[in-house]
């Protein structure tokens, strides 16, 4: 009976959510951008998950593991693909290093603040140190990531912001190395086998990440090298990403990091055709990403009041961290012509942070999980709204500004 009621509610919500809500939300730029980011799918996941109507029960979610791993690997791979040396060479070196600095400063401030927060929480919950370390690293890595989605969206819809936000987009696109490095350290030096009695050292796992990533990148390149139809290419990309993420999961490594490395290798081998790849990736991108969001929502345990208090604290720490990092960049490079009021563009978190936390959730079991997941999923949604508000404040819209919604690969990730 519960299932039938659940199904009926879902059908009605699906209809309203996809049609009438959309029409209604389109009137507001901030809400339209919120929907465009796919966050509604997290809410659908919450509704269908074990803490909602239980349509996606724990058994079902477990059986849908390949979809979760596909989503994680997909995001890592696409982000990696963006680092094509041919294009990177066009970016001034100074901007590249500034982006890394921004990432590093954000990570350091987040790490300090979260260490204090989680240590205090661990005292109350009597959690082991291993969980505190892993929790702090994953939260810091997620927090250090910014999404260029919001900046790109407002640059597209607000003509005034178009030129002004370009340097910001560069910074955001390039700074992912630091958070990915943090993730690599987490999965290598806090590998599950360290908890259970060490088998291999952290360095071995770190090298394994690299080796597997490179190997899979090369393998993909050779598989996709020959002439084939688009649907065959899609199958091989899907298969390679699922296989790579599966290997990562099997070895308790990070699917995002491995596919990120594979993506970089793949993009830089001779004969890589970015246009051809984009056309194929675009076909599957939205479903893959939205399924991940639905499953992320279904795994979200948000029932305790304390997780919401934790979320508010986390958002505050992140705001400070991003603010300090952004101001440091402005101070070091005034020629970028960025203003402190553009900080909003750095606040949006986007898919990579969500992939980080879901990847963590499927590997590590920790008493902090509800706190961590709420901080990232809830934070990603609230930060999207906050980023939008700050952007509108920095670039007040004119009546002639036209709403444009992009649906391409680059627009989502």
């Amino acid at each position: 009976m519960r299932t039938i009621i659940g199904l009926s509610i879902l059908i009605i919500l699906g209809y309203l959510g996809a049609y009438h809500f959309r029409t209604f939300f389109k009137k507001s730029k901030v809400l339209d951008q919120f929907l465009n980011s796919g966050f509604l799918f997290i809410l659908i996941g919450v509704l269908c998950g074990p803490f909602g109507m239980n349509l996606l029960s724990v058994r079902v979610i477990h059986q849908l593991d390949p979809f979760i791993y596909l989503g994680l690997g997909w995001i890592g791979f696409i982000v990696g693909l963006q680092f094509e040396m041919r294009l990177l060479k066009l970016v001034p070196k100074r901007i590249f290093f500034l982006a890394q600095l921004e990432g590093l400063v954000s990570l350091a401030v987040l790490f300090g603040g979260l260490w204090l927060l989680l240590s205090g929480l661990a005292g109350v919950m009597r959690s082991p140190v291993f969980e505190v370390w892993t929790g702090v690293i994953i939260l810091s890595a997620c927090g250090a990531v910014s999404s260029s989605l919001a900046a790109r969206y407002y640059a597209k819809t607000l003509p005034k912001a178009q030129k002004a936000l370009r340097p910001l987009e560069y910074l955001i696109s390039l700074h992912v190395f630091i958070p990915v490095l943090a993730l690599l350290i987490l999965y290598s030096f806090f590998h599950l086998d360290q908890r259970e009695g060490e088998h291999f050292s952290g360095w071995v796992w770190m090298v394994t990440h690299g080796l597997v990533g490179v190997l899979l990148g090369v393998m993909m390149f050779y598989l996709l090298k020959v002439k084939m139809r688009d649907n065959e290419r899609l199958l091989l990309i899907l298969g390679s990403i699922i296989f790579s993420s599966g290997i990562a999961g099997y070895l308790h490594l990070s699917p995002v990091v491995i596919c990120f490395i594979a993506g970089i290798i793949f993009a830089n081998l001779p004969g890589f055709n970015s246009l051809l790849m984009e056309a194929v990736l675009r076909r599957a991108e939205r479903p893959v990403y939205f399924i991940l969001l639905i499953l992320a929502g279904s795994l979200w345990d948000f029932r305790s009041v304390w997780v919401w208090i934790f979320l508010a604290t986390y958002m505050l720490i992140r705001f400070v961290a991003k603010g300090v990092a952004f101001l440091s960049v402005l101070k070091l490079e005034p020629s970028l012509e960025l203003k402190p009021s553009y900080l909003g563009g750095m606040l949006a978190q986007g898919p990579l942070a969500i992939a980080f936390v879901i990847g963590y959730e499927v590997v590590y079991s920790s008493g902090f999980l509800p706190f961590i997941v709420t901080a990232i999923l809830g934070g990603a949604m609230l930060n999207e709204i906050l980023a939008g508000q700050l952007m509108l404040k920095a670039f007040p819209p004119q009546e002639t500004d036209e709403m444009k919604r992009g649906e391409s690969a680059g627009d989502i990730l």
Binding site: T3, L7, I11, G14, Y15, A18, Y19, R22, L55, V60, H62, Q63, L64, D65, P66, I68, Y69, L70, L192, D193, R195, E196, H199, L215, M219, Y222, L223, K225, V226, N231, E232, L234, L235, L236, L238, G239, S240, I241, I242, F243, S244, S245, G246, I247, A248, G249, Y250, L251, H252, R283, A284, R286, P287, F290, I291, V362, V363, Y364, S365
Partner: protein, 429 residues
């Protein structure tokens, strides 16, 4: 060449990773199923490509490689792994069934009404007669019928005759898709296959009830079982029609994120089937049929969209179908199974030929369409699984024999149907 090296690398990598099984004990998510899905997609694609080069259907390649990596040969895809992938397998089946339903157009079926009816009817009658008679003569060579009376021969013959009637809509759909075929043979094979699927389920429940009543006269006849099966079929069709209507409403009023929506619908049909003991394939089939025939414009667009992205679905589904082919059963009963398969082939040929001759002037239909009814899978396996509970004395052995028969039919069926589609000039590669 580069692809062959890459495939070899994948194979070696998968084999090497099996040596790290201790990692599974560390907790966290068991992602071996994910690795398996990726492995199957890559290796299956290459096998399909190789099969195509040898002028064999791609799905034969998928199934052969499935057998090779499955639990009975290299064990790279173990039995627990295949069980973990049940839901994904059901999702794939629902997508295939949705397209199969969408391919059945009432106006075309109406035009083929006479041969369709004749072939279906003759399959039922001829297969039943051939198997009851055949089992009677083969009795001395069937170990589990040793010492059995005429009643048990009759029951076993009727069970085998009923299961032999079933063909696989999934295989038919995969071949139609691969060969991009269209025409009388294509439509007839798909139409008869789907129609027989429903009839076989109902007929099997009748045979099971009668068989139990004959074998165990002390136990009262349970007519409730028959009613339940009828109700399940009706409910499956009902849910399917509702889903079909829902899909068209969605396409009309929303028409966004259609791929995601379709995956959701197939998930719902698979899960609803599991929850309420309905037939997920029948639900999806009815949904596709309803959509195509009530709202043809939208239905056609949707079916076409699914077909375009169907390669991963077919690869995964048929590789897994190969991996679960019970080679143990085949090894145990291969000779007897082979004789029964030959009997089935003969019966299918005769009944299809006679039905087609009576109902149609198309000579291709009479000569080649029987080859489309050889492949068997899902429904037959599902029905065979019910035998042990129904007849504890010999149900297990009969089940093994049926599984062995299905394994052979599954391997030769696609080759036959591809040949038929090419010879009847309906394939457009």
């Amino acid at each position: 060449m580069s692809q062959i090296i890459a495939t070899g690398l994948i194979f070696v990598l998968m084999w090497s990773l099996k040596q790290f099984e201790w990692l599974d004990k560390l907790g966290g998510s068991t992602s071996s199923s994910t690795m398996t899905v990726g492995f199957i997609l890559l290796i299956g694609y290459m096998a399909g490509k190789a099969a195509f080069r040898f002028k064999l259907p791609r799905i034969t390649g998928y199934m052969l490689v499935g057998i090779l990596v499955g639990p009975y040969v290299f064990d790279l895809v173990s039995q627990p792994m295949t069980r973990q992938l049940d839901l994904i397998n059901n999702l794939a089946l629902s997508l295939i069934a949705l397209t199969a339903g969408g391919e059945l157009k009432i106006r075309e079926l109406k035009a083929l009404g006479k041969p369709l009816f004749a072939i279906t009817l003759l399959h039922m009658v001829v297969l039943m007669i051939v198997f009851v008679g055949g089992i009677y003569f083969l009795k001395p060579w069937i170990p589990f019928l040793e010492g059995g009376d005429v009643r048990s021969v009759l029951v076993v013959g009727m069970i085998l005759g009923t299961i032999a009637m079933a063909s696989s809509p999934a295989v038919a759909m995969a071949l139609i898709n691969e060969c991009r075929s269209h025409g009388e043979v294509t439509e007839s094979v798909l139409g008869v296959t789907v129609l027989k699927d429903i009839i076989v389920i109902m007929l099997f429940s009748v045979v099971l009830t009668l068989g139990r009543a004959w074998m165990r006269p002390d136990i009262p006849v349970n007519l409730q079982f028959l009613a339940t099966v009828g109700l399940e079929i009706m409910a499956s069709i009902g849910v399917g029609v509702f889903l079909g209507y829902f899909i068209t409403l969605y396409l009309r009023y929303v028409n966004a994120e259609n791929t995601l929506f379709l995956i959701g619908v197939c998930f719902l049909s698979a899960e609803t089937g599991l929850l309420f003991k309905l037939e997920p394939a029948l639900i999806a089939l009815s949904a596709g049929f309803f959509m195509e025939n009530v709202f043809p414009e939208k239905g056609e667009r949707l079916v076409h969209a699914i077909e375009q992205g169907s390669l991963p679905v077919y690869t995964l589904f048929f590789c897994l179908a190969g991996a679960v082919i019970n080679m143990e059963a085949l090894r145990e009963m291969w000779l007897l199974a082979l004789v029964l398969v030959m009997m089935r082939l003969l019966a299918v040929f005769v009944s299809t030929y006679a039905g087609a001759k009576w109902g149609s002037k198309n000579i291709f239909l009479a000569h080649y369409s029987w080859l489309g009814f050889i492949a068997q899978a899902g429904v037959s396996l599902g029905l065979a699984a019910m035998l042990l509970r129904g007849f504890p004395e010999w149900g297990g052995a009969l089940q093994t024999l049926i599984i062995a028969m299905i394994a052979i039919n599954q391997l030769i069926g696609p080759i036959g149907f591809r040949f038929a589609l090419i010879r009847s000039k309906e394939a457009h590669f």
